[in-house]
Subunit: 402 residues, 2 copies
Amino acid sequence: VSVFKKIAGGVTAPQGFKASGIHAGIKGPKLDMALVLSDRPAAVAGTFTSNRVQGNTVKLCQEHLTGRVGQAIIVNSGNANACVGPQGMRDARRMAQLTGERLGLDDKLVFVASTGVIGRPMPMEKIEAGIHLAVEAVAPKGGPLAAKAIMTTDTVDKQVALEFKIDGKTVRLGGMAKGAGMIEPHMATMLAFFTTDAAVEPRALQKCLSAAVERSFNRISVDGDQSCNDTALLLANGRAGNRVLSEKHGEWGKFSAAVNEAALALALAIVQDGEGATKFVTIHVKGAASDADALLAARAISRSLLVKTAFCGEDPNWGRIIDAVGYSGAEVCADRADIHFDKVPAFRQGRALPEMLKALEGVMKQKRFSIHVNLRLGQGADTVYTCDCSEEYVRINSEYTT
Amino acid sequence: VSVFKKIAGGVTAPQGFKASGIHAGIKGPKLDMALVLSDRPAAVAGTFTSNRVQGNTVKLCQEHLTGRVGQAIIVNSGNANACVGPQGMRDARRMAQLTGERLGLDDKLVFVASTGVIGRPMPMEKIEAGIHLAVEAVAPKGGPLAAKAIMTTDTVDKQVALEFKIDGKTVRLGGMAKGAGMIEPHMATMLAFFTTDAAVEPRALQKCLSAAVERSFNRISVDGDQSCNDTALLLANGRAGNRVLSEKHGEWGKFSAAVNEAALALALAIVQDGEGATKFVTIHVKGAASDADALLAARAISRSLLVKTAFCGEDPNWGRIIDAVGYSGAEVCADRADIHFDKVPAFRQGRALPEMLKALEGVMKQKRFSIHVNLRLGQGADTVYTCDCSEEYVRINSEYTT
């Protein structure tokens, strides 16, 4: 249960932020460009894909992040601006320039993100017209439209907004994310944007975002494919009037917890909206020789196509789970391990419990359940979130170029 | 093109080998137990899964392999004898004992392999009756029946037999394999059994098998899940009358090449029969910073669910390919890389070639094609074989416990 008050508004919930979502015609009839704007320069933190093939907007964001200050984020869906040669970087810069010109801001204060098909030149005429529309449309209640405009194969938009007190002042934290396929972030995420009106010291802000991403976006997997455009940005504009937050501030823990909660909420929303997903599954591994081993084991389970198709078929196939742990690289002794589905034991110290089959099938009929693996070797633990792999996933990804 | 003569007979093609495939009733109405028998003790080589969760028969084979001599292999399908507690090892030993008793052989000369569902106790009454039947049925032309009896979700049996001369003597090499899902061997394979009537020094035989497995079974992926029962065995009984082969023998290269060819033939047959597969795809990576990098890149492509669903949809989606190379761990600079589908270029030095789309779609309509990735960074190269991922794969693995 959250200790923070959940409110509406997404990225425009915090004071001093406006946003818009508009239709630029990049791909079909949907909203496809979003703008997030702070009324003053804000401290910025960012994390990016660790894929060695990076989209051009990822490169540009990393460049602009060196200043640790930002005021606007312009985003397009429908084209990833990745693997398009040197023109791609020019197009990314041009997006920042055009947005800056229209808003009267230095380019360096504009962050750019793109998501969509890899390898197609950016349709710059449409993008340019789209930037004009997005700037015109920007509004204090524009968060929800912006959240829709960044979607690709997502079936629902993903937003969060929390309210809490720092120094007795009301502070708000908003966020939006997109992602449904090519999801296995590792040290990054798909696209996620957070805003807060808290005043936060930039280095502390980066530390806070990195830690939150590590326990949220870096703990999910839809299909094991890590995107080359993953980007998370957090803007803190200080409008709330609190004393500048840093690790020395007495309420730093509260602010960090809010960022963690917001990041986890969006990460889990991505898994729940995983392409073709019918099940949301939490994989807890404990008793591992180390935390690193627990993560290896949990990731291998969350990626295994055989495990994920068994989830889809509601088959309590713990054999595929222990097999995945076996090849994960984690230390494991099958004769000591236990596996539970929710609270129902399936495998105890190396042996099946066939008498539990009916109860296990009952667990799997639910839309959400947990797998608990106890390796009984040490104190290592970690948790990863995943979904099943259905025929629909294959249909989505074989029928469309995404 | 093979320099070896292809002949019929599978594992019973070489002199002095008999085999059988019988129905023991372990799972449904199919043939489910196989026996391979040499008329004299043979040198044995073996490679096994590197999964840390190992089936009991894998453990027993490794124990028996220390003697480097063997005469019989008893195999069951329908039950993996894995993760069943201490009874599993007792059952594996009992299979060797019963087979040895019935054949008048020391247990240590009997190798045992199991494949099928993980975590169910072995139905030892049926296995015991099956061993009796298998021993009674063993025959000089039993190879093809044995190949059928080791199948699980395979749709076709997989056999090979080659003939060539060593020291002027006719030498034969036979083999059979099974596997269609849970296929990504790494340092091992599903089940593959080879026989030869060549006389071969045991250590050289092991080296030869290990090398062949490394370039064949260890270069394929159906679904990225590595089985805990992978086993490859090669028996050499010396009936051909050649001088004992070792690395010092003038025709060692020829014998090694035959083992390589036989192993690759069976490995490729496994990929072609991959669960739900409609495409057979060879992934060549060259120009990598090192051979290890080339293998990382090729494996990442071969495992990527997005790449494999694109193959299924006949979508020449090189963007998903370069994305997978990006997260593979291999060094890559997207602006230097080239990607061809067969001989048709899709991506050249970081840029798409949209004018090739029609030609690329033509390549993908074929049942078999190759992906050529040139990273243009160095001399590293490797090749991996894979198949597409279709809705049928998901159906097979969500509807049945395998």
